[in-house]
């Protein structure tokens, strides 16, 4: 089990690194898909089966397809990332990121406490979709409703922004 985890973990780290590193956005996107999938694997190991599925479907599926679609649509080639300025920025970026990681690690290593754990999951198996559903629609009803509006907004927003030149045409730019 632990070995599996290490496998997924390694894959996750490598792929996400490649996402960041690779010049070609398409490739990055594909690596991202891989990263998501390995994440899904870890979810399974943490017996969050349903989440794993959703991760594959929503993320690796829907979202990444969207990305790829856009990249294709914009027909992006290799990013040219040369020149001193970019090199400097890359250096600073890495330093900062690592620094953030380290400082956080140092802080966390100071003391390590976990919130109060339940003796065992409220009912049935963790992966139980039904259980999830119930909680979702009872305790988390309110946030759930909010998310619905959130999606609505997203939809409207996309329409507004991405709609072709219509009545706003001829506006001074």
């Amino acid at each position: 089990m632990l070995e599996l985890f290490f496998g997924f973990a390694a894959l996750l780290v490598v792929t996400s690194l490649l996402v960041v590193l690779h010049k070609n956005p398409v490739t990055s996107a594909l690596f991202l898909v891989l990263a998501f999938s390995s994440l899904a694997g870890i979810y399974l190991l943490l017996n969050a089966e349903f989440l794993g599925m959703v991760q594959i479907i929503v993320y690796a599926g829907a979202i990444m397809v969207l990305f790829l679609f856009v990249i294709m649509y914009l027909n992006l080639q290799h990013d040219v990332e040369t020149g001193l300025q970019i090199a400097v920025r890359r250096g600073i970026g890495w330093l900062t990121g690592v620094a953030a990681l380290l400082t956080a690690a140092l802080l966390i290593r100071r003391g390590w406490a976990l919130g109060p754990a339940n003796e065992q999951l409220p009912e049935a198996a963790a992966g139980n979709v039904g259980a999830l559903g119930r909680t979702l629609f009872s305790r988390y009803l309110f946030p759930f409703e909010i998310t619905s509006i959130l999606l609505l907004v997203a939809m409207v927003g996309v329409i507004i922004i991405a709609r072709g030149r219509t009545k706003t045409a001829g506006e001074g730019a």
């Binding site: 990305f67 900062t96 409220p122 909680t135 939809m155």
Partner: protein, 100 residues
Amino acid sequence: MIPLPYLIGLSAIVFAIGVIGVLVRRNALVIFMSIELMLNAANLAFVSFAAHMKSLDGQIFVFFVMTVAAAEVAIGLAIIVHLFRLRESVFVDEIHLLKG
């Protein structure tokens, strides 16, 4: 059960990679992907905590996060696409009308 430190460490690393991605890349799309990485790192943290605390809440949160992520992606991509229409570029360092 996978020990928590591993999980948190992993998620932290992924998060950091995401941050680094945002900092080093100039392609809006890739930056955006890195942000997705950050979100997923958070998700991982949620799930692992949930698993160790034997509570479902964490997983529920991941749900919401996914939804939010989806919404963001939609809007973000739309903006980027429109930007490309106007500017023929998705490179954030070519976009600085507003400064000072």
